[in-house]
Amino acid sequence: MALDPALVGRGYPPSAVYEVGRQKIAEFADAIGAPDAVHRDADAARAAGYPDVIAPPTFAIALTLSAAGVVVEDPDVALDYSRVVHGEQRFTHHRPIRAGDRLVATPTIEAVRSVGGNDLLTTRVDVATEDGEPVCSATSMLVARGTA
Protein backbone atom coordinates (compact mmCIF):
# COMPACT_ATOMS: atom_id res chain seq x y z
CA MET A 1 0.00 0.00 0.00
CA ALA A 2 1.35 3.41 -0.91
CA LEU A 3 2.39 5.64 1.99
CA ASP A 4 -0.03 8.41 2.97
CA PRO A 5 1.35 11.87 2.04
CA ALA A 6 -0.29 13.17 5.25
CA LEU A 7 2.58 11.47 7.14
CA VAL A 8 4.99 14.22 6.00
CA GLY A 9 5.98 16.35 8.97
CA ARG A 10 5.07 13.73 11.57
CA GLY A 11 7.45 13.95 14.51
CA TYR A 12 8.38 11.38 17.11
CA PRO A 13 9.59 11.74 20.70
CA PRO A 14 13.34 11.96 21.39
CA SER A 15 15.15 8.65 21.93
CA ALA A 16 16.59 7.53 25.23
CA VAL A 17 20.03 9.04 25.92
CA TYR A 18 22.89 7.40 24.00
CA GLU A 19 26.14 7.79 25.88
CA VAL A 20 29.13 7.82 23.52
CA GLY A 21 32.09 5.83 24.85
CA ARG A 22 35.73 5.93 23.77
CA GLN A 23 35.75 2.17 23.13
CA LYS A 24 32.69 2.37 20.90
CA ILE A 25 34.33 5.08 18.81
CA ALA A 26 37.53 3.01 18.52
CA GLU A 27 35.49 -0.08 17.57
CA PHE A 28 33.66 1.83 14.85
CA ALA A 29 36.91 3.36 13.55
CA ASP A 30 38.44 -0.15 13.42
CA ALA A 31 35.40 -1.46 11.53
CA ILE A 32 35.81 1.14 8.77
CA GLY A 33 39.61 0.97 8.86
CA ALA A 34 40.00 4.63 9.81
CA PRO A 35 43.60 4.92 11.01
CA ASP A 36 43.50 8.37 12.64
CA ALA A 37 44.76 8.75 16.21
CA VAL A 38 41.99 11.27 17.04
CA HIS A 39 39.56 8.30 17.13
CA ARG A 40 41.58 6.40 19.74
CA ASP A 41 43.93 8.66 21.68
CA ALA A 42 42.48 11.45 23.82
CA ASP A 43 45.83 13.29 23.90
CA ALA A 44 46.04 13.24 20.10
CA ALA A 45 42.44 14.49 19.92
CA ARG A 46 43.22 17.34 22.35
CA ALA A 47 46.35 18.25 20.37
CA ALA A 48 44.10 18.54 17.30
CA GLY A 49 41.77 20.89 19.19
CA TYR A 50 39.05 18.48 20.32
CA PRO A 51 37.99 17.98 23.96
CA ASP A 52 38.13 14.16 23.65
CA VAL A 53 38.34 11.45 20.97
CA ILE A 54 36.03 12.17 18.05
CA ALA A 55 33.91 9.74 16.05
CA PRO A 56 34.30 9.17 12.30
CA PRO A 57 31.82 11.22 10.19
CA THR A 58 29.36 8.35 9.63
CA PHE A 59 29.33 7.13 13.25
CA ALA A 60 25.98 8.85 13.86
CA ILE A 61 24.26 6.07 11.89
CA ALA A 62 24.73 3.81 14.94
CA LEU A 63 22.13 5.96 16.73
CA THR A 64 20.09 7.36 13.88
CA LEU A 65 19.24 4.13 12.07
CA SER A 66 17.59 2.68 15.17
CA ALA A 67 15.84 6.03 15.77
CA ALA A 68 14.53 5.87 12.18
CA GLY A 69 13.37 2.32 12.99
CA VAL A 70 10.70 3.87 15.22
CA VAL A 71 9.28 5.48 12.06
CA VAL A 72 9.45 2.27 10.02
CA GLU A 73 7.55 0.46 12.81
CA ASP A 74 4.88 3.18 13.18
CA PRO A 75 1.60 1.31 12.41
CA ASP A 76 0.67 4.09 9.95
CA VAL A 77 3.97 3.54 8.07
CA ALA A 78 4.53 -0.20 8.64
CA LEU A 79 7.14 -0.74 5.95
CA ASP A 80 8.08 -4.37 5.36
CA TYR A 81 11.69 -4.17 6.53
CA SER A 82 12.72 -7.26 4.54
CA ARG A 83 11.95 -5.25 1.38
CA VAL A 84 13.74 -2.10 2.48
CA VAL A 85 17.00 -0.93 0.92
CA HIS A 86 18.92 2.22 1.73
CA GLY A 87 18.52 4.68 -1.15
CA GLU A 88 20.21 7.83 0.05
CA GLN A 89 21.98 9.20 3.11
CA ARG A 90 22.96 12.68 4.17
CA PHE A 91 24.76 13.98 7.26
CA THR A 92 25.03 17.58 8.38
CA HIS A 93 27.52 17.97 11.20
CA HIS A 94 27.50 20.96 13.53
CA ARG A 95 30.52 19.46 15.29
CA PRO A 96 32.06 15.97 15.51
CA ILE A 97 30.45 13.49 17.91
CA ARG A 98 32.90 12.86 20.75
CA ALA A 99 33.41 10.57 23.71
CA GLY A 100 31.35 11.61 26.69
CA ASP A 101 28.50 13.01 24.60
CA ARG A 102 25.05 12.17 25.94
CA LEU A 103 22.92 12.30 22.82
CA VAL A 104 19.24 12.13 22.01
CA ALA A 105 17.93 11.41 18.50
CA THR A 106 14.63 12.88 17.36
CA PRO A 107 13.07 11.57 14.11
CA THR A 108 10.74 13.39 11.72
CA ILE A 109 9.18 12.18 8.47
CA GLU A 110 10.53 14.53 5.82
CA ALA A 111 9.02 13.07 2.62
CA VAL A 112 7.04 10.15 1.25
CA ARG A 113 6.79 9.23 -2.41
CA SER A 114 5.74 6.28 -4.51
CA VAL A 115 7.79 5.68 -7.65
CA GLY A 116 7.52 2.69 -9.97
CA GLY A 117 5.78 0.49 -7.41
CA ASN A 118 8.28 1.36 -4.67
CA ASP A 119 7.59 3.36 -1.53
CA LEU A 120 10.23 5.99 -0.74
CA LEU A 121 10.37 7.17 2.86
CA THR A 122 12.69 10.01 3.89
CA THR A 123 13.31 10.48 7.59
CA ARG A 124 15.44 13.13 9.24
CA VAL A 125 16.92 12.37 12.64
CA ASP A 126 18.19 15.37 14.57
CA VAL A 127 20.90 14.51 17.07
CA ALA A 128 21.52 16.85 20.00
CA THR A 129 23.05 16.60 23.45
CA GLU A 130 20.55 16.05 26.24
CA ASP A 131 21.14 19.74 27.11
CA GLY A 132 19.92 20.73 23.63
CA GLU A 133 23.18 21.51 21.79
CA PRO A 134 22.67 20.48 18.12
CA VAL A 135 25.33 17.98 17.01
CA CYS A 136 24.21 16.62 13.66
CA SER A 137 21.29 15.70 11.43
CA ALA A 138 21.03 12.46 9.48
CA THR A 139 18.58 12.19 6.60
CA SER A 140 17.89 8.69 5.29
CA MET A 141 15.87 7.77 2.24
CA LEU A 142 14.61 4.20 2.45
CA VAL A 143 13.17 2.36 -0.53
CA ALA A 144 10.61 -0.38 0.09
CA ARG A 145 10.67 -2.41 -3.11
CA GLY A 146 7.35 -3.36 -4.65
CA THR A 147 5.16 -2.14 -1.81
CA ALA A 148 3.40 0.86 -3.37
Binding site: A31, D36, P56, P57, L65, E88
Partner: protein, 142 residues
Protein backbone atom coordinates in the same frame (compact mmCIF):
# COMPACT_ATOMS: atom_id res chain seq x y z
CA UNK B 1 49.78 17.68 14.77
CA UNK B 2 49.15 16.29 11.32
CA UNK B 3 49.84 18.40 8.27
CA UNK B 4 46.72 20.09 6.94
CA UNK B 5 45.44 21.06 3.52
CA UNK B 6 44.89 24.81 3.44
CA UNK B 7 42.08 26.40 1.49
CA UNK B 8 44.69 28.67 -0.15
CA UNK B 9 46.38 25.61 -1.67
CA UNK B 10 43.18 24.25 -3.17
CA UNK B 11 41.33 25.23 -6.35
CA UNK B 12 38.25 24.01 -8.16
CA UNK B 13 39.45 20.95 -10.02
CA UNK B 14 42.08 19.95 -7.45
CA UNK B 15 42.13 16.15 -7.40
CA UNK B 16 42.36 14.06 -4.26
CA UNK B 17 44.76 11.12 -4.13
CA UNK B 18 42.94 8.02 -5.36
CA UNK B 19 42.32 5.44 -2.65
CA UNK B 20 41.41 1.75 -2.91
CA UNK B 21 40.01 -0.11 0.07
CA UNK B 22 39.55 -3.90 0.26
CA UNK B 23 36.25 -5.19 1.65
CA UNK B 24 36.05 -8.82 2.82
CA UNK B 25 33.28 -10.86 4.44
CA UNK B 26 35.12 -10.44 7.75
CA UNK B 27 34.93 -6.66 7.29
CA UNK B 28 31.16 -6.92 6.84
CA UNK B 29 30.77 -8.89 10.06
CA UNK B 30 32.93 -6.39 11.92
CA UNK B 31 30.94 -3.46 10.50
CA UNK B 32 27.63 -5.14 11.38
CA UNK B 33 28.76 -5.44 14.98
CA UNK B 34 30.13 -1.91 15.24
CA UNK B 35 27.13 -0.24 13.58
CA UNK B 36 24.34 -2.48 14.88
CA UNK B 37 23.10 -3.19 11.34
CA UNK B 38 22.63 -6.97 11.32
CA UNK B 39 20.57 -7.22 8.12
CA UNK B 40 21.41 -10.77 6.91
CA UNK B 41 21.92 -9.64 3.30
CA UNK B 42 25.31 -8.42 4.56
CA UNK B 43 26.48 -11.80 5.87
CA UNK B 44 24.15 -14.60 4.74
CA UNK B 45 24.42 -15.79 1.12
CA UNK B 46 21.14 -17.75 1.30
CA UNK B 47 19.10 -14.73 2.43
CA UNK B 48 20.87 -12.40 -0.03
CA UNK B 49 20.09 -14.60 -3.03
CA UNK B 50 16.51 -15.26 -1.82
CA UNK B 51 15.77 -11.53 -1.99
CA UNK B 52 17.21 -11.37 -5.51
CA UNK B 53 20.72 -10.06 -4.87
CA UNK B 54 23.70 -11.57 -6.72
CA UNK B 55 25.21 -12.48 -3.33
CA UNK B 56 26.18 -10.96 -0.01
CA UNK B 57 26.57 -7.19 -0.39
CA UNK B 58 28.41 -4.59 1.67
CA UNK B 59 26.45 -2.22 3.88
CA UNK B 60 25.87 0.96 1.89
CA UNK B 61 26.94 2.79 5.03
CA UNK B 62 30.29 0.98 4.97
CA UNK B 63 30.89 2.15 1.40
CA UNK B 64 29.89 5.65 2.52
CA UNK B 65 32.34 5.44 5.43
CA UNK B 66 35.20 4.31 3.15
CA UNK B 67 34.53 7.16 0.71
CA UNK B 68 34.64 9.60 3.65
CA UNK B 69 38.04 8.21 4.62
CA UNK B 70 39.44 9.31 1.27
CA UNK B 71 38.19 12.84 1.96
CA UNK B 72 39.31 13.14 5.57
CA UNK B 73 42.70 11.56 4.74
CA UNK B 74 43.16 14.37 2.21
CA UNK B 75 41.94 17.07 4.61
CA UNK B 76 44.08 15.47 7.39
CA UNK B 77 41.21 15.87 9.86
CA UNK B 78 38.30 13.45 10.37
CA UNK B 79 36.42 16.27 12.11
CA UNK B 80 36.54 18.53 9.05
CA UNK B 81 33.64 16.90 7.19
CA UNK B 82 30.59 19.11 7.71
CA UNK B 83 28.15 17.93 5.04
CA UNK B 84 28.02 14.58 3.29
CA UNK B 85 25.41 13.23 0.88
CA UNK B 86 25.41 9.97 -1.06
CA UNK B 87 22.95 8.12 -3.23
CA UNK B 88 23.38 4.35 -3.33
CA UNK B 89 23.30 3.26 -6.95
CA UNK B 90 24.55 -0.28 -7.16
CA UNK B 91 25.47 -2.78 -4.43
CA UNK B 92 29.07 -3.78 -3.69
CA UNK B 93 28.98 -7.57 -3.99
CA UNK B 94 31.50 -9.19 -1.64
CA UNK B 95 32.38 -12.74 -2.73
CA UNK B 96 33.41 -15.37 -0.18
CA UNK B 97 36.70 -16.09 -1.94
CA UNK B 98 39.23 -14.84 0.59
CA UNK B 99 39.80 -11.67 -1.46
CA UNK B 100 36.43 -9.96 -1.37
CA UNK B 101 35.75 -6.70 -3.20
CA UNK B 102 37.66 -3.48 -3.71
CA UNK B 103 36.18 -0.01 -3.40
CA UNK B 104 38.01 2.75 -5.27
CA UNK B 105 37.45 6.39 -4.39
CA UNK B 106 38.38 9.33 -6.61
CA UNK B 107 37.59 12.91 -5.71
CA UNK B 108 37.80 16.37 -7.18
CA UNK B 109 37.08 19.77 -5.65
CA UNK B 110 33.84 20.94 -7.27
CA UNK B 111 33.36 24.23 -5.43
CA UNK B 112 35.25 26.40 -3.00
CA UNK B 113 33.58 28.85 -0.62
CA UNK B 114 35.05 32.04 0.83
CA UNK B 115 34.58 30.51 4.26
CA UNK B 116 37.27 27.89 3.43
CA UNK B 117 34.76 25.17 2.74
CA UNK B 118 35.45 22.88 -0.19
CA UNK B 119 32.88 20.66 -1.84
CA UNK B 120 34.45 17.42 -3.00
CA UNK B 121 32.68 15.45 -5.72
CA UNK B 122 33.45 11.77 -5.37
CA UNK B 123 33.43 8.91 -7.86
CA UNK B 124 33.19 5.60 -6.03
CA UNK B 125 33.54 2.36 -7.98
CA UNK B 126 33.81 -1.35 -7.35
CA UNK B 127 34.65 -3.86 -10.07
CA UNK B 128 34.72 -0.97 -12.56
CA UNK B 129 31.10 0.04 -11.87
CA UNK B 130 29.93 3.17 -10.10
CA UNK B 131 28.39 2.13 -6.78
CA UNK B 132 27.38 5.58 -5.53
CA UNK B 133 25.36 7.48 -8.11
CA UNK B 134 25.98 10.70 -6.20
CA UNK B 135 28.56 11.42 -3.51
CA UNK B 136 29.41 14.90 -2.30
CA UNK B 137 31.32 15.89 0.79
CA UNK B 138 31.90 19.38 2.13
CA UNK B 139 34.99 19.87 4.27
CA UNK B 140 36.08 22.85 6.32
CA UNK B 141 39.69 23.50 5.37
CA UNK B 142 42.21 25.20 7.62
Amino acid sequence: MSPTVRAADVAVGTELPEQTYPVTRADLVRYAGASGDFNPIHWNERVATEVGLPGVIAHGMLTMALAARAVTAWACDPGALVEYHVRFGRPVVVPDDGTGAQVTVRGKVGALGEDGRARVDLTVTSGGEKVLSLARATVQLA
